[in-house]
Amino acid sequence: MNHDHFRQQAYGPAARKEDARFLRGKGTFVDDIALPGMLHGAMLRSPLAHARILSVDTAAAAAHPMVEAVITGDMLAERGLAWMPTLSADVQAVLATDKVRFQGQEVAFVVARDRYSARDALELISVDYEPLPVVMDAGLALDPAAPVIRDDLGNGRGNAIFDWSAGDKAATDAVFASADVVVSQELLYPRSHPAPLETCGAIADLDEITGRLTIWCTSQAPHAHRTMYAMMTGLPEHKIRVVSPDIGGGFGNKVPIYPGYLCAIVGSMMTGKPVKWVEDRSENLMSTSFARDYHMRGEIASTADGQILAVRAKVIADHGAFNGAAQPAKFPAGFFHIFTGSYDLKAAYCEVTGVYTNKAPGGVAYSCSFRVTEAVYLIERMVDRLAAELGSDPAELRMKNLLRPEQFPYTCPTGLEYDSGDYPRALRTALDLAGYDALRAEQAAGRQRGEYMGIGLSFFTEGVGAGPKHQMDILGLGLADGADLRIHPTGKAVLAVSCQTQGQGHETTFAQIVAAELGLSPDDVEVVHGDTDRTPFGLGTYGSRSTAVSGAAAAVVARKVRDRARLVAAAMLEVAADDLEWSGGAWRVKGDPEQARGIAEIAMAAHSGLDLGTGVEGHLDAITVYNPPNLTFPFGAYICVTDVDAGTGQVSVRRFIAVDDCGVRINPMIVAGQVHRGLADGIGIALMQNITFDAEGNCLGGSLMDYLLPTSVEVPSPELGATVTPSPHHPIGAKGIGESATVGSPAAVVNSVIDALAPFGVKHADMPLTPAAVWCAIQAVANTTKGVKAPDV
């Protein structure tokens, strides 16, 4: 029995440990917690997108019999808390003092004895606003005549935030200049919102006697939050405890610190009681981290016979009123430079300009792997545009240009080093699963009958699992994660990790990782997370970091335990440590494998009176920090089959085939669940979800009546396939999977719809492809092309 065999026993589709409590309604989400004497906060928000605040009158609210405190921006300013740092080293108003800069911005906070009274008191606050002209169009934000939104910065840069580029401009331009074919396309990746089913919230409890602040909070990054709270409030970090209990989905929405959390803390400081604040759905959609809002121009160059040579992109990135993007500091456009995709290119160059507008702040959130989503969408739409231009089959064109297995590790033209891949195998697997040729035949036959079926492909490569630390940090905190593994005398283990699940099943997966390394059963490993008092420091869960970084930490710390166990086993067996080898879940004497000791026996011996030899401590516990040497690069091939009603513009998704390669799969059941979610996201983002604004800056996607999320009837049964190309640098060969499908699938949906509309001559339409958008796209080209005439209406 070798080690791999043992690993295979621990890995596999194990049922989840966390399910027992959720199935019985016994989870503990933030809003489920009620502390003795707890008060309730409610936030007053700006109805205007841009306005000067002339006065805030809170007297009537403060006089409400159930109200215990009313907090304004001026009161926070006295404490030095009116502004807070964002994750992109900008500042954001906690409560507005000078101006409001987006609709829904935080203006005042009421603390009352119950939920309803807090809301009632909001009605009693009167705010005098002087409306200012708004900037809603990212393209116009840089106009020198545009009103300056962030006059507080006084930096003379108008509404510009950053200019960032990657790749070799001159080399790329040269390739374009001599290419046979160049296709360009304007592409909008519209503003979207992750909308986890549980909204954001916090309970702050400052113990006046001990000076300890405890914050229960919807946080994907409890340790980073603790450090930030210390920096913001001046409270010493060892007196702060952040507890992120059960989290009802995050997807990036719960990475930042929001003004409501700080107001709850100040409320607790002022009243001496715990204060709970939980936002409602409109607050969630209108004020917390949005995603995307990338206004892109893509260009692709190829030879006449379809050898892709280079890509170029120019992007205006709308970051809203405050740059609250959560991403590594040196990468203001995240990993957008992976827009070179999965292809063997000679050159690539991209430029991204970040701008302020009068919209909710943020910039990165929603399972985007730090802007890889936008990058994949761009390249995959451009490849389809090129295929249409060349008259080639999009699958053939991709196959012809995909990187070949022998090219890995591969450094792309913008400098990322892809760790491993077998792309043609993944694409072939997807084409086979789909029955691609038969689908094309069916499509051709359908078109004769006036039926418009679309077949859309997307081949994506992601870079996930940030750091390394020296390249990637957030507010100076390097992107690494800790793991602490304790082995009790009876051989039961407790693993504490710095990442935090929001539904991904860490309690199960990480137990499997440790079990595989130590020859234990996953049932013998308890996973602790989400509580800064009980876990080692680390940067948390987002950007598909958990398995890639914390999963690695779990394996590494377990191997440290194994190394300690070797010394104890040597003492037990009275041999030299060098004479032992780890195999079959135990330390065995080389050449005499029956002489063996497993972890449980070793743990008991370690704590016994046995003479362990000089320098050997009497326990097996270990701690580690894992600083990844590189990102991991999961990839996949997706095929989406749609049926489009050309008369109404209605799109229905008939099939979704997804072949993912995320390296070694620890729990394939959980991996499949992650992919299912992302495919539903792709359908939602491509067809339904949209956060838009009117000309005055009113948010038009502020409720689930307007911001449409896919339900069980819009999402088909997905058809999944897998290939396994281990990551060469990850301790167990795994790569991230949490966001792959959200990243990879929207392009497949859009490519499918545009493919369906090809007979009409439609070349492109921007997401979301609502019935109206599809219908308009058909009408727009109906009279200008020689394609099929649009249906009469």
């Binding site: 049922a15 992750p194 089913l197 009802g248 929001q502 499949a672 669940g673 339900t711 997905p718």
Partner: protein
């Protein structure tokens, strides 16, 4: 005003504000926090529980309307320590991730199987279409409900043979 209602077989009597929503009575007053709240517009279904024999979105029902009636929440789904087959199905088929939508989904699924013991996939999707799950993409929820249907059919057969 005073209301009296039976929740999961236990009778409760409370003095409430007339405007109190049923979801807040259940969660904040009775401290049964398995039912969740997720939207302002009756779109998400995180709050679904049974009022008498029917699943309702309890964010859209006044607590006062439950006076004299029976409520069943997720906490009442299992028979003692024995999970309802729907709960069992969700565990076996990985029908939940974060678990936030799960109580509402399971209560609707229970109602479906009580009325349609052999639902097609389309029937299941239709029944759940008023509720949102952001984690599972619905696939494994559908499989979970189908698992419960098959399990119950097998039990029935065993009982009758």
């Amino acid at each position: 005003m005073r209301i009296t209602l039976t929740v999961n077989g236990t009778e409760y009597s409370r003095i409430i504000e007339p405007r109190l929503l049923l979801i807040h009575l259940i969660r904040d007053e009775l401290r049964l926090t398995g039912s969740h709240w997720g939207c302002d517009t009756s779109n998400c279904g995180a709050c679904v529980l049974w009022l008498d024999e029917t699943p309702v979105k309890s964010c859209t029902v006044l607590a006062a309307m439950a006076d004299g009636r029976r409520v069943m929440t997720v906490e009442g789904l299992a028979a003692g320590t024995r999970l309802d087959p729907v709960q069992e199905g969700f565990a076996r088929c990985h029908g939940l991730q974060c678990g936030f939508c799960t109580p509402g989904m399971m209560l609707t699924a229970r109602w479906l199987l009580d009325h349609h013991p052999d639902p097609s996939e389309a029937d299941i999707r239709e029944a759940l279409s008023g509720q949102v799950c952001r984690c599972t993409g619905y696939e494994n929820i559908v499989r979970a409900v189908r698992w419960a249907a098959d399990y119950e059919a097998a039990q029935d057969q065993a009982d009758h043979s």
